[in-house]
Symmetry: C2
Subunit: 335 residues, 2 copies
Amino acid sequence: MRHTTITDLAKKLGISASTVSRALSDHPDINDNTKKRVRKLAKEYNYKPNPIAQSLKNNRTTIIGVIVPEIQHDFFASAISGIEEVAYHAGYTIIVCQSNENFEREVVNTNALIQQRVAGIVASISQTTKNSDHFKSVIERGIPLVFFDRACEDVSASKVIIDDSKSAFNAVTYLIEKGYKKIAHFAGPKALEICKRRLEGYAEALNKAHIHISKELICFGGLHETDGYNSMDFLIKQNIIPDAIFAVNDPVAIGAFQRIKEAGLRIPDDIGIVGFSNNKITTLVDPTITTIDQPSFEMGKKAAEILVGLIENENKSVKPKTFILDAKLIIRGST
Amino acid sequence: MRHTTITDLAKKLGISASTVSRALSDHPDINDNTKKRVRKLAKEYNYKPNPIAQSLKNNRTTIIGVIVPEIQHDFFASAISGIEEVAYHAGYTIIVCQSNENFEREVVNTNALIQQRVAGIVASISQTTKNSDHFKSVIERGIPLVFFDRACEDVSASKVIIDDSKSAFNAVTYLIEKGYKKIAHFAGPKALEICKRRLEGYAEALNKAHIHISKELICFGGLHETDGYNSMDFLIKQNIIPDAIFAVNDPVAIGAFQRIKEAGLRIPDDIGIVGFSNNKITTLVDPTITTIDQPSFEMGKKAAEILVGLIENENKSVKPKTFILDAKLIIRGST
DNA sequence: ATTTTTCCTGCAAACGTTTGCGATTACGTT
DNA sequence: AACGTAATCGCAAACGTTTGCAGGAAAAAT
């Protein structure tokens, strides 16, 4: 089965390909009767223009590139889903790449997307991203770019984020109001902006309540379960037992959760826990975990909507904007 | 910034574009010295052939299309990740579409991928897929197609699946050996082959142990948490309390799990639970849930590997094969 | 009858690449 | 000197689409 081409239609009708093309795009030059004949035959043969040929003309496809650290991760899977949803309805398809939290691979992916002449890119950067030259060259090429959640600060592109600092502040303030005093923070990689901001929020909340910030209560680590587990393990072995933990994200909270249970401590009586992201898991463990709802699906949707807007208003080069979505504290059993 | 073209190089070197093309593909007609000059300049300008122009010639891209019911779903996110991994190393990119368990959308997605001239398609069908005409037209067009997990039985394509029936049989047999007698099954939509097979395995295990199969212990529903919750709720309200539940998948198991806890019943003492898929969640709840490890990442990888093989050996039209991956019963606290 | 205007349509180029075939040159052979 | 044979390379077409421009025919105006 071959695809029907515009020339096939032209031959059948005894007219030229250019007339068919114009008829299908409702060009005023073309006779109404001719248009009708063309449209009828096009429908009959289920003709659809070859997107590759169109792309070659426009030097651009109708594909949106997506770069995320890890597809499996709840947050990103859900964001991708939001992006796909918007793209689908706007007539785009999405190419998904994962950097595996690896800088080099992120660069390769970005260049591959540029190569492929994607119409635009939605990205969330890896933990190990050292510089942003690859994203800058996206901008230079005039390819619309939107970051979500994890953005490159020195790239002039729109972003969809949440107010990490404020959210962290709220969560920790809530813990303080609940009566918790010795509040630890299981922080993420210092290189990631969002982690820095969550740490800032934590510190601000303590400051405001005139609680001394103890360095030994701040444990740096990665973003996975094992990191939370290890941090908690480290504290326990040093016999430093906080009465509450604010974790940089849910997996880390879950890791701490497990180690606490292993230690025979009770949640929330002995130790309270607050996570970050509102992963599904937090509603399934016992007790359920207090967390901050990071609207992943909506962030993906919003980012894609902005991107589509940029793609379709290419003339007006709008100034990059930062969109801050609401992240609400969801109080559950762990506090 | 424009992309460097083959003509740019040709002009700089004062030779023709065809010579440049041949030089870069190491054609024997071309003088070694010329090749060197061409390669050097190509490197200098970081020349990469325009994939769109190549696609137009070949009438095929280097993109692999992926269709799944839901990207967010743990199993599929992980499978996509496996597909991406293989594709990346084989020099392909992946376009990801989700059907949202909707038949019409699956058809639209499939046609869009055909339109885009993808090199091949990896798919897992939706719950509501009524017929397979869209997949048949993929085959007719000569586009390689591989199913994973949920396959269309009447389409002649390779599949990567697990032995659902046998796995279910093993799980239920294990429950019987453990001493459970009144074993319920929370089944999935009858339209899905995999659900049918899991039900079969359940029935076989009971038969073999000469346990009567009671219809009231088989609850049909969907594949989500709420379905498991509702099934359990239904049983409880009818005062039918099984001593074990074999759920069609993990979300359903989790749903049942929650309702059981709400009812004040103990797991595994009052009711044992077995899930299916080995989602991460099953290790995080208390007690952890016995389940069948469905190697999602590996299934994605395997499917992609087969697909790449098919794409690159296009001449030899191999007979479709079915690959059955191992799915092991993982015994945990819930039984 | 001639010119102008309007309406419709086709030609050809362009996007960037690949490739069959023919052309050119150099070199060795008779 | 005449010819054959490699060794190199370029022309042009093709993939399918879009679009500026020119051209033809018919209708209207002079």
